[in-house]
Symmetry: D4
Subunit: 227 residues, 8 copies
Amino acid sequence: MADAPRTAHLGHTRLDLDRARRTGLPEAIYAAGKTPQQCVEIVSRLLESGDDPVIVTRTRDEHRDALAPLSPVATVGSTLSWRHLPTAGIAPVVVVSGGTSDAPVVDEAIATLQACGAPTGVHHDVGVAGLHRLLEVVPELSDAAVVIAVAGMEGALPTVLAGLIAAPIITVPTSVGYGSSLDGVTALLSSLASCAPGLTVVGIDNGYGAACAALRILGRGPTSEAP
Amino acid sequence: MADAPRTAHLGHTRLDLDRARRTGLPEAIYAAGKTPQQCVEIVSRLLESGDDPVIVTRTRDEHRDALAPLSPVATVGSTLSWRHLPTAGIAPVVVVSGGTSDAPVVDEAIATLQACGAPTGVHHDVGVAGLHRLLEVVPELSDAAVVIAVAGMEGALPTVLAGLIAAPIITVPTSVGYGSSLDGVTALLSSLASCAPGLTVVGIDNGYGAACAALRILGRGPTSEAP
Amino acid sequence: MADAPRTAHLGHTRLDLDRARRTGLPEAIYAAGKTPQQCVEIVSRLLESGDDPVIVTRTRDEHRDALAPLSPVATVGSTLSWRHLPTAGIAPVVVVSGGTSDAPVVDEAIATLQACGAPTGVHHDVGVAGLHRLLEVVPELSDAAVVIAVAGMEGALPTVLAGLIAAPIITVPTSVGYGSSLDGVTALLSSLASCAPGLTVVGIDNGYGAACAALRILGRGPTSEAP
Amino acid sequence: MADAPRTAHLGHTRLDLDRARRTGLPEAIYAAGKTPQQCVEIVSRLLESGDDPVIVTRTRDEHRDALAPLSPVATVGSTLSWRHLPTAGIAPVVVVSGGTSDAPVVDEAIATLQACGAPTGVHHDVGVAGLHRLLEVVPELSDAAVVIAVAGMEGALPTVLAGLIAAPIITVPTSVGYGSSLDGVTALLSSLASCAPGLTVVGIDNGYGAACAALRILGRGPTSEAP
Amino acid sequence: MADAPRTAHLGHTRLDLDRARRTGLPEAIYAAGKTPQQCVEIVSRLLESGDDPVIVTRTRDEHRDALAPLSPVATVGSTLSWRHLPTAGIAPVVVVSGGTSDAPVVDEAIATLQACGAPTGVHHDVGVAGLHRLLEVVPELSDAAVVIAVAGMEGALPTVLAGLIAAPIITVPTSVGYGSSLDGVTALLSSLASCAPGLTVVGIDNGYGAACAALRILGRGPTSEAP
Amino acid sequence: MADAPRTAHLGHTRLDLDRARRTGLPEAIYAAGKTPQQCVEIVSRLLESGDDPVIVTRTRDEHRDALAPLSPVATVGSTLSWRHLPTAGIAPVVVVSGGTSDAPVVDEAIATLQACGAPTGVHHDVGVAGLHRLLEVVPELSDAAVVIAVAGMEGALPTVLAGLIAAPIITVPTSVGYGSSLDGVTALLSSLASCAPGLTVVGIDNGYGAACAALRILGRGPTSEAP
Amino acid sequence: MADAPRTAHLGHTRLDLDRARRTGLPEAIYAAGKTPQQCVEIVSRLLESGDDPVIVTRTRDEHRDALAPLSPVATVGSTLSWRHLPTAGIAPVVVVSGGTSDAPVVDEAIATLQACGAPTGVHHDVGVAGLHRLLEVVPELSDAAVVIAVAGMEGALPTVLAGLIAAPIITVPTSVGYGSSLDGVTALLSSLASCAPGLTVVGIDNGYGAACAALRILGRGPTSEAP
Amino acid sequence: MADAPRTAHLGHTRLDLDRARRTGLPEAIYAAGKTPQQCVEIVSRLLESGDDPVIVTRTRDEHRDALAPLSPVATVGSTLSWRHLPTAGIAPVVVVSGGTSDAPVVDEAIATLQACGAPTGVHHDVGVAGLHRLLEVVPELSDAAVVIAVAGMEGALPTVLAGLIAAPIITVPTSVGYGSSLDGVTALLSSLASCAPGLTVVGIDNGYGAACAALRILGRGPTSEAP
């Protein structure tokens, strides 16, 4: 742990100013449990130090209103970001979703990837109930550096995909569905118990986490760019 | 409830001698919770009355030894049967399984169907991790009267199937798998939450129940044959 | 998979224009996770292609307001439909419910069946706490092609029914009840563990799914009508 | 709490010598978690003090062998008892079971009731899959002081019963069944969520507890006999 | 089942006009899943037939407003009732609660008991964290015909009570508490697993069910009054 | 139980006026399940008797408005308190949290400790994803009398802490996080299953309970102060 | 973290030779997942370094046979220990259990405490079903430095205790009980949701963990003894 | 899907001879649910076709005895393998475990990786209760291509690791632990809910799956070697 890592104290929050240096990933602010004012203070402080990307996820309208004066570079769904890295000239991370209702989770992953300079691709609504919809995008997925499979309900999409392509696959189970979907638990268990080998999973609805896992595989982020 | 239904008392057991007349399904004996001697008494009594098929499921060695003197017509896995109905000249019930380890559940379904005169077909090990294995049997499934899909682990097989064929599909989740398979609960939830419409489900490992549901669809059994 | 299946891209949605041809079931739009505008775009696109029925389930007021200009043929509860098939001259699908509060699920099943041309019957509120209420409708159920049993709370209705009639029975557990009903999980487990053979189950509150399963049994839908 | 309650110390165990005086129920020894030697010491000590019935439940062979020299008055299944109260001349407690495999739980209830002087009746195997089996015993149940309904699998028996008779009904869910029966949890939830009013429940497989609840209703036991 | 039971059809509801005759309990209407108009129709129809008490539980303001013109005899919390039976001159049913927040469940039980003519007593807030609060009411509980113990959080109250008194005890677990109370599941499991024998349980928050169980024990209700 | 404990009856509530004398902890009022008027009555009555601290937790705006005329000494988040004990000159109870969003639970603990005279310290946002943030506060924690570790999500903070310091550690799992955090269950299980010995846990979000446990360790409260 | 902590590598195991110095607790070996040979190697290595106590928990016969040549100082149930600290002259840690079957967990706690020099007391079988059994030991518990409450089934013992005494209380839920006890989960939830403030909990059956938590409170262990 | 994939039928099993070509991963045989004879037939058939590695996991003694005549190249724990690929000259996959008892899962991952030609490293027993044990291996982990973190109990290891290194991390929760570890569910939830970004998870005890996910990241396997 060579140099002592730097920390910034904001009273309610203790900022980790070296996370990107250690892990290749910028610190993201999870807005859902914070007041708009807390988010503004944290983002302001981060923008004053270093030059890593800054990301805020799960904002509501009041968060976005409060953060607007800080001029985010991009707002994708409920994710805001500042100081994007330039997009790298490498194979893309491709995100596929099982259905239209999974879009907010797809957006969170895409927003995170783009802020960190990863090239991206998206295919919405390729669930296995219409298998040809998935099969027609398979060739494109085979060229991906990483595939992120976003799926709710029974979560069969990643399993079928894992039998068809050789790329790393990261599953994001979503809380889309009702009744027996159990708010995403069914899709989560489904990917964990999959008969198709080599599938990995992140938490329910965690598009940000899937993007970070993909960035780890790419070796992307400030550290590996400029150590 | 027209004529008073007939019942036979054996002390520990109260036999429903008219179940087949009412429901088109013979009474089956679930051996797992009964002593070999109780099974022998029940089967003997049933063989003395009427002429419906008699089925005993989930036998262990000691049950099979005790029942052998009663000369079962067939022993398939742990299921024994007597007084089979003649096989009808209709479209078959086809049973497909996701993996080799699902075989005991497949056997229970097949044994029940054959005892009641339903023509059957079987395709073992067509799980979706190797999609072409499933696709090569799809044409045959399209001709089935009913398809029974037996699958453990993540249970994606029935969902994929339901997007490909128009026949009625009955899913049997199995307790095959480990860890996150949760003894079949994952496969069960997966089918219940499926994005593919028109999938129905029976209890975990319940091959007998799936066969009975198929027989209801066929309108098979003593009643509908000879009312 | 003969001819390449046709797909329509709407950006957020990838429509499966051949689902009815393959599975005998029209594609239904689940409104709950979609904006009114997305629903309008999808329905408009579907009405432009082919002549299969179009169904939208789980609409809220804002969805229905937005879809009204597209002139649905029928609005039953929260389900809208277009381009109904003519009602076939066959034995009906009869839906029974355990209590008055199950009505929205009953409506979803009936609306789907009617759009696809299946003759239907309904008996509300025949729960087993007043057994004679059920017994007085049993004769009518015996003539049904399929019985859909909709029940919440303890879900005993399908089990009792399965001991009385020979028709195929599809259970829809509902989230009706409170406390120990666990939002439908109790009724779901009850049907899956039933001592009565040949009961099949669909997901909690999934009236649409039960109707589709019944349509599979009837061999109904555009495909089997006009292949 | 009038007189100070009496206690006997055995090192590993602290005997409550006045439980019967307070609650009308003798202290029972649950053998499953105790060594045969501990059971012998406890029973010996109880037989030396007072004249209440003594009951040992859930014995295995080694417990029964060790306790045989203490000459139990009755051994019913795995329950042993000493110093029975004379049978009272009152309406009986009637135990009904859903299936033959529920017999061990029925036995535990019956053994406890008989030791405490309650008249008893039993009807095995009257599950609702053959409704007439239950209906033919209903008249007899209507005369009962209390009905104990022992049922596993989906546990529909107590619900149906509660719609037919006015007597107090105590349900014992059993771990009989497999897969989706979840070792009795399904039957437990089913009775708790029942649409039939006035049903009460004890723990899974707890035949002893159900008998004690019935004894409370009867006002039976040493206290109320001889205060 | 002697005389054919009488039923009244209201379209959405099938009234069981003889439930009281069979089970000694009037049919109660669970308002939560019904519209105010449905409740009015059902109550009106019941008031036209026979002379049993009529009870409506879980009303909201709009239900109470709609039902007011039907002049309920009593409104206790969210429970309304008509045609009370005269209070019998017998030992009372005493309801105890663990805390002030359990009051709505206590009210539901008391309202039901009073409508059916059972004398009642109440002790609020005698939870075991202040044991003397409970001990000071024990003498009064010992004279009760039945004790209903209403408790949320960890649900220890009924267990302690069952070691102190001989009367029948019916536990109602409540959803009072937060976090690890799991909406009543903890209190429910606690009573079911109790080390104190003879405790029975009804569903979470089910004050109505507990009252009905007490009425069964009392042999109260129209039937036993006037057969 | 020496002198008879004193109790005050308020109809809906039975106040335990001697809890502090017995347990060293004042009775706290959990406002969430009570009306503002009930809270006012209870606090008023407690302020009239004895001189123990009085604490009200989980207030909403309407509770605070109603209680304002009673002039609370402190309002920390949603916790109000009266009659604080003087702060003792002993080692402090230090509260650490994993993230900014855990603040309400931290506040509840701090408010309770301060009302009872315990010196306190706080370190917000020292979660293990930035290990150096935790390591930089470890020296200060080593001097604490008790450490309260407040953590949601995966709850790894207390485990890491328990390997680094010798002080007693009380974990409060919080419902902070989403999806797989399961409203605090994950953090709860994590601490209970911890590989680090000597960690204790209180209920999810229960900052008040953790403070009380710390006060028990300090031997603080009215009793030990003035017996 | 002053001096670099010392570690010993055994291939399969990496020994933490300074845990006692940091946390005041010796490293214990959990035998259940290790071979007898691995246990022998680890204990031998620990006995060669420093002079802290060494503890092995959850041994089976084969572990004890293999470890016998290393001459343990004490064997209490399945726990072995070496190099005990001298017993300190302070208030004792008192362990109470709800029933005789909880003894193995009591033994594990006592063995750990004694090896580390804490004075101990034990009261077996004081469950709340016989409240006077508990009340008669309360005076003794009031003098304890810490009380460890070991209880399975419904786990009401710690809640009642917490209302009666001021000492720190650590609950160990046990897997004693059957059916609805859910292998200790019920007792665990019960203590976490307790209405009695200041109760802390360790994992199910974790007598070792409870002892370590008590040792943290005592400030016992090699470090605080000889720093 | 270019060339039709090749399949081999063995009756009970349908071999996917092109999985490696599509997914870069050889088909592994899960022995636990298969007879020794079935394993022999499958391995023999695979060895006859192509030249991909062949792996059998979860063997018991009888499987290993039956497979010995087929001369496996390596036997690591319960995993057997044939036809290893040459080890590639790239950064290694490093496997770390929380404790000695996790060794069987570590072995399964290592065996799979080595058969497929990935260079490997292992660090046993670096759980976070002794943080310096982990910190001393961090430098080595920073050079890894992929880190597989194997941890049971509370599963904090991967979370701490994810805050320290930039490499891709794959978590394998293990069923090591007891009581509240819930057979691995606690460790699983812990990683899914982690506050540390970019952590991915495979199923409980699934060392084989983690190895396959690592191989996908490496782009290893027959396909990527020889397309």
